[in-house]
Every structure is written in C-alpha cells, then in structure tokens.
Amino acid sequence: MTPAELIQIQPPLVALLLLLGAAAKAVDRTGGGGPVSLLPDVLQRPAAVATALLEAVLAVALLVAAAPVGAAAGWAAAALFAASAALLAVVRRRDPKMSCGCFGGLSTEPVGWRTIARAAVLAVAAVGAAVAGGSGLQALVGLTGAQAVVGAAELGVLAALSPELREAALRTLGRESCAVRRVPVRRTLSRLRTSDVWRANQVVVDGTEPVDVWRHGCWRLMRFTGRRNGRPVDAVFAVELRGRRPRVRAAVSDAETMVTLAVLGEVAEEGGAPLPRTTGGAPQATGTVVPTVPPAAPAPAQGAGEDGEDPEDGEDRGGPRVPRARAGAQASGTSAGISGGNGAGASRASSSDR
C-alpha cells in the first residue's frame, strides 16, 4: 500500500479528535483554560464557544466533503493545531498551573509538554488530511487493514499524549477515593435502612430522620434519638461510603449521662461501670463482645478481614484505622447487637461487614 493510500485515514482521525474537543468544550461551563485564558475576561467565554463551533464545523467538513472543501478544512485544522501548540507554550510559561482547556472540563492537569506535543502531532495529521483529497466517510467505507493499523497506532500515540483519558476513566468508573467523593445524604440513609445493623437496632430509635448528620472521610455518621430501658439514648450509625453493601456500625449512648452503652456490637453491663475514657473524655471500646453465634473458625488475619470490600473497588482504604481487636471482631463475623431491652439480650449484628 502506498503512502498516498495510507494517508487517507487522516481525515476521519482528525475529525474524530475535533469532534471530541468540540463536545467537551460545549459542555464545560467554566469555559476557561488554554489559549483563551490569554484573552481579556469578557472575551474568554465567547472565544471558547467560537473555538468549539469552529472545531465542529471543521470536523463535519473533513468527514463529508472531498477536495477542495475538505482540503481547505484540513489546512484550517492544521493552522488551528499549530497555533494551539504555540499558544499553549505561552500559557505554560505565563501560568504554569493553567490547564490546556483542549477537552473542556476533562483537561484539569496543567499544560505540559505532552499536551503541546499532541497539538503538534495533530497539526501534522491535519496536513495529511488536507493532502489526502478524499472525505473522511469515504475513507471509512473503504478502510483497509493497513489503514486501520496506521490509524490505531496514531490513536495510541495521541492517547499516550492525553492526560484527559485518565481523568475520563476515573470519572466514568467512579474510582475517585471515597474520602473526597460527594455522596448525597439520601443515598446514605437508604443504604443504612437496608442494613442488618439498622434493622437490629431500629427498636431503639425514635422516628426515621436523623437529628444530626456529619461526614468523616469515607464515613457518614447519623445520630438518632431513641429510648432504651426507658431512658433517652442517642443511637449513632456510621455508614461507609463505598460499595453497594457498605459496612455499617452503630453505637448507643445514654443521652443524659453520656455513657456509651454499646459500641460496635459491644453491650455494656447494665448499671455497670462506665466505659474507660481517654484524656479527652471519649469512650474507649473495651474489646468485649457478646457473641450469639460461636465463631466456627479462628478469626482471619487483619487485612483479609478488611472484609466487605467491594470487589470492584481497588482504591485505598481511606477510612480511619480500626484497632486490631475491633477489626478482628468484625472479620470473624461475630454477631452481637445493641438490644432494645436488656443489654444481655443482644441478638443481631450491629456491625455489618459483608
């Protein structure tokens, strides 16, 4: 296959990149970044919109029009990419933290040499599209194996030069760490209400709406008021913000004496001594658990017991470290509950770590 035939793949390739750039810019509300940041403020948004429109028009022309219109679109695209490469170098020198804006909101990384090199590669490809002569659709209809290989190799080079791909993958797959991910309170509430921990301790809780909700990295905590043995209590649930079956923990505290009656399935002796406290006054878990099902096997080692992890979720365990005794109790599947009646009557899991 001659070079003239191989070059026929350039119009659809350049058109694809132009269309992607135009679409990403169109949905980006900030409209900033890249060469348009060199313009006065009032002109930046109009310039971003105009650039997106120009890219869309050039892409359509490259796809549907043969020479001379298609060739003219190719030369215009080459000029656009060459100018972008030069201006990106200026932007990089002027504001090293500025993003390139090439793919709208997906371009969050500062302008780097990869971005500038990509614009240069695209400028060369656009020259190829200009001299190819045929339209992009014609090239796609008559695509040969050699052209497909060249096109795939070129796309690979462009992908390697595109930091936006990683960002798009992270956003699409929701792989951002749970510690920084925004999660609606309603979703957390529904996850809580479908958990065993909630059902086991619902009898303690008055009402269905929490009186306080707060966030702690990968966890959201919810406080409900309730009664236990006729005394007012606070029932607090912690729901992990990852996976469809998140870990849920619960604690019940006497609302008047502030004694923590039960933590992570531990049930304090009724009328017994309060839990030990730290110098800051926080209750410390005693490590005592009331099991209702004897563990059939030794508790797995910590780590294996970091349990319940969403198999799709390979991210770091961003949550707080759990003391070994507690983690072991969870991992063993020990079933202990916060009883609505006598503390010794624990019957259900109050820590769900599936």
Binding site: T30, W214, C218, G318
Partner: protein
C-alpha cells in the same frame, strides 16, 4: 438539625476509633489575646477572658503594628496578640497589635480600597492599600478587579484593614477560571501544604469574645451534603482533602518549627479552597491550603501572623 460538635467528635471516636477523631490539644498558655489596657516600656496590662493580666518586656521583646515598632507605638485599646517566651506566661517574646487580614475574591475595587468576599458565613471585608505599601501590593496583586483573588495582612483600623504585606502571589486569572483538581484515586493519610490564619472575631471585643480565643481551624473541604449547606460557595481545593464536618479534628504540624497540635474544625474555609499557592516564606515546596487556623492556634504552632502562612503537614479524617 442540631449540631453539637463536641458530641460529634465523641461519637466519631466511639465508632471509628480514637485515631480518627483525636481529642483537641489544650490551648497554649503562652499565647494570649486581649485588649491592651496599659502599656509602658517595661510592662503590659491586657484584658483577657481571665481578667486583667500583666506581662513584662525584656530587651529582646519585639512589637508589630503594621511593621516592627517599639512599645510606645502600641496604643491603649489595641487588640493585642502576645506570645510569651521562656516557657512561662510572664515575659513577652513578641507582640502583635491590631492584626487584620483580608482573604477572598475581589468584589469591587475603587482607588485604593478593595472589597473582598471571604465566602459564605463571613461578612465582606474592606482592604485599604496605603501608598507606602502600594508598590509591594502591586507586585503580588497586579489585578485589582472583581473576580480575582486577594490575600493580604495589615493593621485593622476603623472597620477596614490597612494592608502592609501581600500573603500570596495572585493567580493571573479570575478565581472561576481555576483548573479543577484532577480526580484523586488515593488520599494520603498526611498531606503537605500551607496553613494560614483567620480571625473569627474580626478584631472586635478580643477581651470578651470567646471566638477570639478559640484554638481551632476553618477547613476548606466541608461536606456539602451536611454542614456546608445550600449557601455553600466553596470550591474543590486543589489538594485532595477528605470531606469532613464541623466538629472533626485535624492534626497540624508546622514543618518549619516542628510544633504540632490537634484542632477542631470550627468553620468553613471557603476562601482558602480557591487558593492553590505556596508559602512565600515557607521552606517546603508544597502548594495548596490545608486549613486556616485561628490566630491563637496559628501563633502557638510558631507561625508568624505577619507572614500569613507556614508550610505544614496535616492529618485529617
């Protein structure tokens, strides 16, 4: 929905472990804030929350009131911040008078006066740029137009802050054009960045307002689902800070002095979330603001309020 921040920390520690919500450090006895009642070349009387307290000066004691001054330049009625030396609460190491700071997004600028929006929950602040500091300010803040960021320290006078030192170099674009933070797949347990200060009492009634004495932090990544609320106007900080709520505690260590402490989150640091800067006088190269500490907390960690920031390492969540 009621918010009891102390209860929040107690419950968080109960459910997630003491490491997740360590108890706050005790306030440093060596940092005192109040109103100057009487000042001589050798002694200072200050009205504080505890009543009248007296402090001694020695030859090495230094004074700041917009610039390094002598004790005679500190006036009766001034809001003073005192850091004592020698491990006690008697001898003044350094004294700052009428400290003020304006941080946020410029709303309007007229001549030498700039009105700044510090973000939700705080009133707009006016900064006056006097002629003597206009050169310094112009170098670091060349664009005094609405939408651009502003951060300067100065002397509080009659409801405005007369700026003396720019804390940061203004980004060359409006705040809304700041690039979004790339998605964070991992959030490090300890993060490096810079810590600045803020004054929740706005320089008023430093002898009676408990906010002037609180040792706490404003955090730039409050959870929008709970505490930040519908009026929340913070941005996503350029550092991947874990989302927290009021009542959480953060452990902050000054990388320059090595002094650290644990502080409760008291406010939203909406303005800090828009900055992605480095500390001009800091030793580290880390960029991005981790938190704003109250003046007593900032000073207790060895920070110099007139510099506005120090490089720090923070553990949160």
């Amino acid at each position: 929905m009621s918010v009891d921040v102390q209860e929040r920390r107690r419950f968080t520690a109960a459910l997630l472990g003491e490491n997740a919500a360590p108890p706050p450090s005790d306030p440093s006895p060596q940092v005192v804030r109040g109103v100057a009642l009487h000042i001589t070349a050798h002694m200072l009387t200050v009205a504080t929350l505890k009543g009248e307290e007296r402090f001694l000066f020695e030859r090495t004691t230094s004074f700041w009131r917009g610039r390094d001054v002598g004790p005679e330049d500190v006036r009766v009625g001034d809001d003073v911040l005192v850091r004592c030396g020698g491990g006690g609460r008697w001898v003044v190491d350094r004294l700052w008078a009428q400290l003020g700071r304006v941080t946020g997004t410029i709303v309007s600028a007229d001549g030498g006066t700039v009105v700044v929006d510090p973000g939700h929950g705080r009133p707009r602040a006016a900064a006056v740029i006097p002629y003597r500091s206009s050169g310094r300010m112009a170098v670091r803040h060349p664009v005094l137009e609405p939408g651009y960021l502003f951060d300067a320290v100065g002397v509080r006078e009659g409801g405005t802050v007369h700026t003396t030192v720019p804390v940061t170099t203004q980004p060359p674009h409006p705040a809304v054009r700041t690039a979004r933070r790339p998605p964070a797949r991992r959030v490090p347990e300890a993060q490096s960045g810079i810590v600045t200060w803020y004054d929740p009492a706005f320089g008023r009634a430093a002898h009676t307002d408990p906010r002037a004495h609180a040792a706490g932090a404003a955090y730039p990544a409050l959870d929008p689902g709970s505490d930040c609320g519908p009026a929340c106007d913070r941005s996503d900080p350029c550092l991947p800070l874990p989302l927290l709520s009021l009542g959480a505690t953060v452990a902050v260590r000054n990388d320059d002095t090595g002094v650290g402490g644990v502080f409760p989150v008291l406010n939203c640091a909406s303005a800090a979330s828009r900055f992605c800067d480095r500390c001009r006088e800091g030793s580290g190269g880390a960029g991005g603001r981790l938190a704003e500490l109250t003046l007593p907390a900032f000073t207790a960690l060895g920070g110099r309020p007139e510099a506005g920031c120090f490089t720090a390492t923070m553990e949160a969540g």
